[in-house]
């Protein structure tokens, strides 16, 4: 089975996505979680680029730009919240923020 470059691009994107997801699940540090999310988002972006390449369209790259912008704003707010978390708990442990449950 020949996937071609776009096909391999998708496979790479999926692998990156899985790595990012694994990071979200495995890391306790909020910063690391944010970075992992970034990896997931960019994996999706990579998939768009690969798909766009396959169809010879620019749309995939446009979507990637959107994703970049949005990811940046997500991280901006994420960092702000991380800052507040650190100020309140003196740590960046995401599990520390688990007072609400049940």
């Amino acid at each position: 089975m020949s996937l071609g470059l776009p096909g391999w691009g998708l496979v790479l994107a999926a692998a990156l996505f899985a790595l990012g997801l694994a990071g979200v699940l495995a890391r306790r540090n909020l910063l690391m979680i944010l970075i992992s999310i970034e990896v997931m988002l960019n994996a999706a972006g990579l998939a768009f680029i690969a798909a766009g390449a396959a169809w010879n369209q620019a749309d995939g790259q446009v979507m990637f730009l959107f994703i970049l912008a949005v990811a940046a704003s997500e991280v901006a707010i994420g960092l702000a919240l991380a800052l507040r978390l650190h100020r309140e708990t003196n740590s960046l442990d995401a599990d520390a923020a688990s007072r609400m449950r049940g």
């Binding site: 909020l30 997931m40 768009f48 396959a54 749309d59 609400m100």
Partner: protein, 476 residues
């Protein structure tokens, strides 16, 4: 962009201009009251532009947006919800926060995002609307600066929403890869030729993103935590506007593709519906925190709405009308409930525990009546809007012969009754068991809640004008 187009997207423009104006005003001079009025005026303008826009509809504005009756109806709901939220938030912010004005900015941005979703006709606008909404909601959820629970809510919402957005994007990418199209209309044309090996997982991943936003089981876990941690007005907005926007785009998806059959996700949606109806209600059963309880309740309600969505396969018009009416009823009800919590907020915090409300009826009949009516409406008891909503929902389900789902709906809503009754029981507990007194109701809030209460009964008793409006605003 011709004149018609401008007219058609005027409501969105008004919503977009509102936060900008508010930000500018804040930059000039911080005034809570002025910011509120600017916001109210902006949302009001958006609402006022709905009717002219309807005259121009249906119309595609750029490949990204489609302005039709359906989009306008949901935009009106969202703008209305934002307006009410702003008014409700005012006294609570006044009492508890030192930086109050940015709340309105975030609210405006969120409203714009939700409204964009309602009109989006393209993966790009879908994604952008969703993220505009989400990013603003993180801020709203975590708004109270001294409240660790709000922070926790914000963090949880952010991490999970961002992760689920990644799922959504990956799903879109997969579909794009298999069809080469991003706009819904073109997608519909390209679907039959597309290989299912990417399509099906792609659709499933999109469902993950949507399911997260709607709080469907098993993507619901954030819901109670965020509802509890976020300030009551923000929680109310999350419960209403954000869900309506996402549901609207889902509905349009359905409409454009003539059901989900071509997406091979019907059984997935059925599973989500059943899990959400049962899960939401079961989880709420012994909940003592009113806001968490409302969170679980919203999970169940979104499950109910999926029944309408599935019914759209067979009875599109009835199903869209159902969704429209259901959201109307749900908006009024939920805003009344959260609004009441907001209105009774003291410097110490919100009256979140059900125990805080014990015996309220005997000393403060009006707020107790509002909350009781909201509970009855959520439970779908006659006289209230919720009853007709449920009636409509069952009608849609019956028209589509979804008997299994209806049975689950019936059983789960009876389970749901149990916790609504627990709230009522607390409200009407004997006066001598009453909890500590709550904050007095500001006069403005009283009127606002009174209006919501009146609407609750009005819609429940004389729904004809609303029905006519909904039926006059079709998808198209």
């Amino acid at each position: 962009m011709n004149g018609g187009s401008w007219n058609a997207i005027a409501p969105w423009l008004a919503l977009g201009a509102t936060p900008v104006a508010a930000m500018l005003a804040i930059a000039l001079r911080r005034s809570h009251r002025a910011t509120l009025w600017i916001t109210v005026a902006g949302f009001g303008a958006g609402l006022l532009r709905i009717r002219p826009a309807a005259r121009a509809a249906p119309l595609a504005v750029t490949p990204l947006l489609r302005v039709d009756g359906f989009a306008l109806y949901f935009t009106a709901l969202i703008a209305g919800a934002a307006l009410v939220t702003a008014l409700l938030a005012y006294p609570a912010l006044e009492r508890r926060e030192e930086r109050r004005e940015e709340f309105y900015v975030l609210l405006g941005v969120a409203a714009l995002g939700a409204a964009t979703l309602a009109a989006s006709d393209h993966f790009a606008s879908f994604f952008l609307g969703l993220e505009t909404l989400s990013v603003a909601l993180y801020g709203l959820a975590a708004y109270p600066r001294r409240d660790p629970l709000a922070l926790e809510a914000g963090i949880k919402y952010l991490v999970l929403a961002a992760a689920s957005a990644a799922f959504l994007l990956l799903g879109m990418a997969l579909i794009y890869a298999s069809t080469g199209a991003l706009g819904f209309a073109r997608l519909a044309g390209a679907l039959p030729a597309a290989p299912p090996s990417l399509l099906a997982p792609g659709a499933a991943l999109i469902l993950v993103g949507v399911g997260f936003k709607l709080g469907l089981v098993p993507f619901h876990l954030w819901t109670p935590d965020v509802y509890q941690g976020a300030p009551a007005p923000a929680a109310g907005f999350i419960a209403t506007a954000s869900k309506a926007g996402v549901f609207a785009v889902l509905m349009r998806f359905f409409f454009v593709f003539g059901g989900l059959d071509s997406w091979r996700t019907v059984s997935a949606v059925v599973a989500l519906a059943i899990a959400s109806m049962l899960g939401g209600n079961l989880l709420a059963l012994r909940q003592r925190n009113l806001k968490r309880l409302l969170g679980y309740s919203s999970i169940a309600h979104m499950g109910y709405l999926l029944v309408a969505l599935l019914a759209a396969r067979y009875a599109v018009a009835l199903a869209t009308a159902t969704a429209g009416f259901y959201f109307l009823a749900y908006f009024v009800t939920t805003l009344a409930a959260f609004g009441l919590i907001a209105a009774l907020t003291t410097e110490r915090g919100e009256p979140q525990e059900i125990a805080d409300l014990r015996g309220l009826f005997w000393r403060r009949p009006f707020p107790a009546t509002v909350l009781a009516a909201a509970m009855l409406s959520l439970a779908g008891i006659p006289l209230t809007a919720g009853f007709l909503a449920k009636f409509y929902l069952v009608a849609a389900g019956a028209a589509a012969a979804l008997w299994m789902l209806l049975l689950v709906l019936v059983i789960s809503s009876v389970i749901g009754l149990f916790y609504y009754l627990r709230v009522m029981m607390a409200l009407f507990a004997p006066a001598e068991e009453a909890a500590a007194p709550l904050a007095p109701l500001p006069a403005g809030q009283g009127w606002l809640l009174g209006a919501l209460l009146a609407a609750l009964f009005w819609i429940g008793l004389f729904p004809q004008p609303f029905l006519r409006m909904i039926l006059g605003l079709p998808l198209g």
